[in-house]
């Protein structure tokens, strides 16, 4: 299943530290990785906040680290995400989305954490968010997430949905060749460095220096955008007969794949930073654009912002996604 593919991808990428707290529908990632002790360090932590901070500590100490959760836990992990951005710590955080807000509909899938994944922690930072749409792609994208984390020295978010996390497919992992990046951060004990959540220059806090903040943020942003440019992950199926471009991601894209014969389909895998150039090139070939997603238009707003033109939306709320419903609603547009 998708969750197991994430665990396999993480191991392939060289992850040797995992900490998490059980939550539906993400727990299978934990279950799978618990079997790999003691080759990897595994901690079933007391809560979601602890698990992301443990992963940060382990990453600083020299290991590739990951934590996994679902929406309610993702809310708690925002504190650690901000810290990892500030301290520039490579890390992978998996969010297998379910219907919220709050405890919501725990066993039903959703895509409601898109904006939380982008901007859930306070302050400014540039998010790197990936979202696969098949079991095989879960495996590949997990490895890409670890590579991007090393390239950018930052946390990378891997989004799944409960449907994809539990989706069963046969995949020949050995047939997939992947490139794995080595560690980029010297482990604790190799210097006299000071890692801090405060704005700091060479380990010395600069908490009242506006000019330095601007300089620091420009560097951080350039670093993230430079890394993102190496991960232009998407799929575009142009149907020359269609004047309508359908943008969908994750399980929603998978469900509408049979509509390829009728419409053009665009699937972003790199959700953030938004693939502006690729989306615009595809959009320019169409009269209308519609984003189909299991939330109330979260990514539609992002696409509209990137394209600077009107974008339609189909919201599939409440945990159910069906091809018939999407087909009907596309006809009604």
């Amino acid at each position: 299943m998708g969750n197991e593919a994430v665990a396999c991808g993480a191991l392939k990428a060289g992850m040797t530290f995992f900490a998490a707290y059980p939550i539906t529908p993400a727990s299978e990632i934990m279950h799978e990785l618990a079997e790999h002790e003691p080759e990897i360090a595994f901690v079933h932590a007391e809560d979601e906040i602890a698990s992301i901070h443990m992963a940060i500590g382990a990453s600083l100490a020299g290991r590739k680290a990951m934590t996994s959760t679902s929406g309610p836990g993702m809310s708690l992990k925002q504190e650690g995400l901000g810290l990892a951005h500030m301290m520039e710590v490579p890390l992978v955080v998996v969010d297998v989305q379910r219907v919220g807000p709050s405890t919501g509909m725990p066993t039903l899938p959703a895509q409601g954490d898109i904006l939380q994944a982008a901007h859930g922690s306070h302050g400014d930072y540039v998010p790197l968010v990936l979202y696969p749409s098949s079991v095989e792609e879960c495996y590949r994208t997990t490895i890409a997430a670890f590579n991007a984390a090393e390239d950018s020295r930052s946390p990378v978010i891997l989004l799944l949905d409960g449907y994809l996390g539990h989706l069963q497919e046969t995949v020949d992992l050995d047939a997939i060749s992947v490139e794995v990046r080595p560690r980029t951060l010297a482990p604790l004990g190799e210097g006299r460095r000071h890692f801090t959540g405060l704005l700091a220059k060479d380990g010395v806090p600069k908490t009242k220096d506006t000019a330095y903040y601007r300089e620091w943020y420009a560097r951080l942003k350039a670093k993230m955008l430079e890394t993102a440019a190496r991960y232009r992950l998407y799929e575009y199926h142009r149907n020359p007969a269609s004047r309508l471009l359908v943008v969908a991601y994750g399980i929603t894209h998978r469900v509408i794949t049979p509509l390829r014969g009728t419409y053009s389909l665009f699937k972003p895998v790199r959700m953030f930073p938004v693939l502006e150039d690729e989306l615009r090139a595809a959009a320019d070939e169409h009269d209308r654009i519609v984003v189909v997603e299991m939330n109330d238009g979260q990514y539609r707003g992002e696409v509209q912002k990137a394209l600077k033109r009107d974008v339609l939306g189909i919201s599939l709320l409440g945990g159910t996604v069906s091809l018939n419903e999407i087909r009907e609603r596309l006809r009604e547009l």
Binding site: A50, H53, G57, A58, L188, H194, T196, G197, L198
Partner: protein, 249 residues
């Protein structure tokens, strides 16, 4: 090694107020590290948020200053990732026992091999002097203007409720005892927690009627005594170590 090797002199002076107790505990920690001859490559210091949380950056080793209350889980991740590193957590009572309380319970239960030095000044000093879980009953603070109506938390009871445990109380006045205690905590193979009785002259002491750091130091001297009697739980004004290493029983 000399204690001076463990201090990042280019970061001096610290941000601690004149008369503050944290500097004393910081220096005694440096003495204890020198006493053990620990190499910088074999150790790290982790702090949370607050006045005590600034300590990590003043040690001349790789160090980490994290978010409020999360020093323990970061330290635990470091220890699990590299068990050869001596991991020292240096933070305050509000950070470790207040907002980080859940992590404290579980790190102690898991008996993670960490040395935790907790500066207990019974208040949130950096934010102006609010009521902490350690604030004595009746004490007036910014958030208990009529006097705290709660009993302070029993850290000793919390730590020693685990079958295998190591808890010590020391004070910022009794420096020889403090230094020995810190060394013992770092050398203990498991979760070691040192509650260092301290004070905050600026944001708590003056509300309690103290005029200077020195007066508060004398208060520690007269209030606390190292234990010389039999083993067992420490009385509220006793300094010493309470430990149990019987993993088999």
């Amino acid at each position: 090694m000399n204690y001076k090797d463990y201090i990042k002199w280019e970061r001096m002076p610290t941000n601690w107020c004149p008369g503050c107790a944290i500097g004393t505990v910081f220096k005694q920690t440096a003495f204890a590290l020198a006493d053990m001859d620990l190499a910088a490559s074999d150790m790290t210091v982790v702090s949370g948020i607050g006045c005590s949380g600034r300590a990590a950056g003043y040690f001349n080793v790789d160090s980490v200053h994290v978010t409020h209350g999360r020093a323990l889980p970061v330290a635990e991740g470091i220890k699990r990732a590299n068990p050869k590193l001596k991991v020292i957590v240096f933070s305050g009572d509000g950070d470790l026992v207040g907002i980080g309380g859940n992590h404290l319970i579980h790190a102690a239960r898991r008996d993670v091999d960490l040395a935790v030095i907790c500066i207990n000044n019974a208040t949130y000093g950096m934010t102006g002097g609010q009521m902490a879980p350690t604030t004595p009953t009746g004490a007036k603070t910014l958030t208990s203007p009529h006097g705290s109506s709660y009993a302070p938390i029993n850290i000793q009871g919390l730590i020693t409720s685990n079958r295998r445990h190591w808890f010590a109380r020391a004070s910022a006045f009794h420096v020889a005892h403090l230094q020995r205690t810190i060394r013992e905590a770092v050398e203990w193979p498991g979760f070691a927690f040192v509650e260092v009785m301290a004070f905050c002259v600026e944001n708590f002491g003056r509300r309690l009627g103290f005029k200077s750091g020195h007066e508060m130091l004398v208060n520690l001297k007269e209030g606390f005594k190292p234990r010389s009697g039999p083993e067992g739980p420490l009385g509220p004004l006793e300094l010493g170590v309470v430990k149990h290493d019987d993993q088999a029983s």
